[in-house]
């Protein structure tokens, strides 16, 4: 979900994705950088993202991922269900207020 959300902002390569996740979450989310790639492969296979070879800011050949329409739809679905889950948790945690 996070990956799709970030890619919605624009195409990006793997290493940059990791950087963005780390920065925006204030290093709160410690992900093993490598685990990003199997996830990206799964999304490629599902057609949520597309990839092509390009160059990074440092002029290195990298694979750049961009979100596809199917990916946008998937993201919307996931956000909806995520919000509902959060909502549910919130209600359970604050029973008195509800």
């Amino acid at each position: 979900m996070m990956i799709l959300q970030i890619l919605r902002g624009g195409p990006m390569h793997g290493y940059a994705l990791v950087q963005v996740i780390k920065r925006t979450s204030d290093e709160l989310l410690q992900i093993e950088e490598g685990s990003l790639y199997p996830a990206l492969q799964r999304m490629l296979k599902a057609g949520w993202v597309a990839a092509e070879w390009g160059t990074s800011a440092r002029n290195r050949r990298v694979r750049i991922y961009k979100i596809m329409p199917a990916g946008r739809k998937q993201l919307e679905r996931e956000i909806t269900s995520f919000e509902r889950m959060l909502d549910g948790i919130a209600r359970v945690m604050r029973p008195a207020e509800s």
């Binding site: 390569h13 793997g14 290493y15 490598g34 790639y37 492969q41 990074s56 440092r58 050949r61 990298v62």
Partner: protein
């Protein structure tokens, strides 16, 4: 090489390149932040995780993993079996022999009991015979053929025939031929038109029928060299010239091994009306059931016909007691052809089935003994985090490696056995179609 494999190499290559680029970028970033290169490389590798594993998992996403694992299992199984060749040989051979025996017996059962006769509408072809006194006869009386034709309501066609031999002369190697003398209706009952030429016309029957013959495919092939102009030629049979008017198609083999079909020398005028002094000709009879007539209706019809025919006999025969228990019977031709063999074949197939079961139990025992010797190996694998499913998969692959050669050799054994049986022609199978 196939397209999948090329694609797979490309995927592996791309994944590796991508990972390498990632690490390089990271190292560059760290060095920009002032970390010495050596240190930066270590840190990058550490934070990235197990690069090889990740590249592999990335690839597995595309669905090649099961194939790779299967390959591993097959190689492992082959190595394991080579270490224990006696076991492998025993198991595979046991399976091979039993599968071979089963397949052979099933081939026989299939050709003789299950497969319908190779004639159109063969399930409607009935064998008609008679019972006189308590004696089941192979044949019926000539006059009955005419009575049945005249009175029956269940059959669309009835044919009479008998078998004989003819001396073929006027050729280099004179020969005695198996022949059938048939009524023109015979081929309508069998539902099979000649491959070439025509069959007997309605007026080509009786004692004054023209000297015309229809020959079998086998005769045409082997004795006439497949001559395309065979129809119209003359052959000398029992010293008389006979014109060939037709050739039957391949696979038409009834009565079995018949080479020549010619008109049945029987006339209604010599057979009917019945009298105590006139000899009756005995003939075999076939009839084709009308579509939609049920077994029960046929039984009633046969009883009715029996009753009618008894009344056709003159008083002196009826009172002599000769007709006591006389009946006209009909049974499916296939059943008649397989009648004697049916119980024997069923027993045989049951027996080989049981033998296969026993063989399976034996092989299972062998494998069980081997498995208990391998408990330690499995325990170690489980302890190292191997998936239970993965281990079951491997065990199944190993069993397949035994069963597959067993099955293949078994099929070979069966093939040879069937060929042997067809060449040897054991007495009990002689009257039946070739096994295939």
């Amino acid at each position: 090489m196939n397209w999948n494999l090329i694609r797979r190499w490309r995927l592996a290559d791309e994944a590796a390149k991508e990972v390498a680029a990632h690490i390089e970028e990271k190292v560059a970033d760290l060095m920009d932040a002032g970390v010495p290169e050596q240190e930066a490389r270590h840190q990058a590798a550490r934070e990235f995780g197990n690069a090889v594993l990740i590249a592999e998992t990335s690839r597995e996403v595309w669905g090649w993993a099961w194939l790779e694992r299967l390959g591993q299992d097959v190689r492992y199984a082959v190595r394991g079996l080579r270490r224990d060749p006696m076991l492998a040989l025993t198991a595979a051979l046991t399976l091979a022999i039993c599968i071979g025996a089963n397949t052979t017996v099933f081939s026989i059962v299939n050709s003789i009991l299950l497969r319908p006769l190779p004639y159109p509408g063969s399930e409607r072809i009935y064998w008609v015979n008679e019972r006189i006194g308590k004696q089941q006869m192979e044949v019926g009386a000539g006059p009955d053929y005419y009575s049945l034709r005249e009175q029956n309501r269940a059959f669309e066609e009835i044919a009479a025939f008998d078998s004989t031999t003819l001396n073929w002369t006027g050729v280099e190697k004179p020969e005695q031929l198996d022949a059938a003398q048939v009524t023109p209706s015979f081929f309508r009952v069998m539902g099979t038109p000649p491959m070439m030429g025509r069959f007997l016309a309605p007026d080509e029957q009786g004692e004054r029928a023209p000297a015309v013959v229809v020959v079998s495919y086998a005769f045409w092939r082997s004795r006439m060299g497949g001559d395309p102009h065979a129809v119209g030629k003359t052959i000398t049979l029992d010293r008389l010239p006979n014109t060939i008017i037709g050739i039957m198609p391949q696979g038409f083999d009834y009565p079995r091994e018949t080479q020549i079909f010619r008109p049945l020398p029987m006339d209604e005028a010599t057979q009917r009306p019945r009298s105590a002094t006139r000899p009756m000709r005995l003939v075999s009879m076939l009839a084709k059931l009308k579509i939609g007539v049920r077994e029960l209706e046929l039984t009633t019809e046969m009883a009715r016909l029996t009753h009618n025919i008894r009344r056709e006999y003159p008083k002196e025969i009826e009172t002599s007691g000769f007709l006591n228990g006389m009946a006209i019977l009909a049974q499916p031709l296939q059943k008649r052809l397989t009648g004697d063999l049916r119980p024997a074949l069923l027993v045989l197939s049951g027996a080989v089935g049981l033998v296969l079961l026993i063989a399976c139990v034996n092989v299972a025992n062998l494998l069980l003994a081997r498995a208990s010797a391998r408990q330690r190996e499995l325990a170690v694998r489980l302890a190292l985090g191997s998936h239970r499913r993965r281990i079951i998969q491997q065990m199944l692959t190993e069993s397949m490696m035994l069963a597959l050669p067993g099955g293949l050799i078994g099929a070979g054994v069966a093939y040879l056995a069937v060929r042997g049986l067809n060449a040897w022609q054991p007495l009990v199978l002689q009257d039946y179609p070739a096994i295939g």
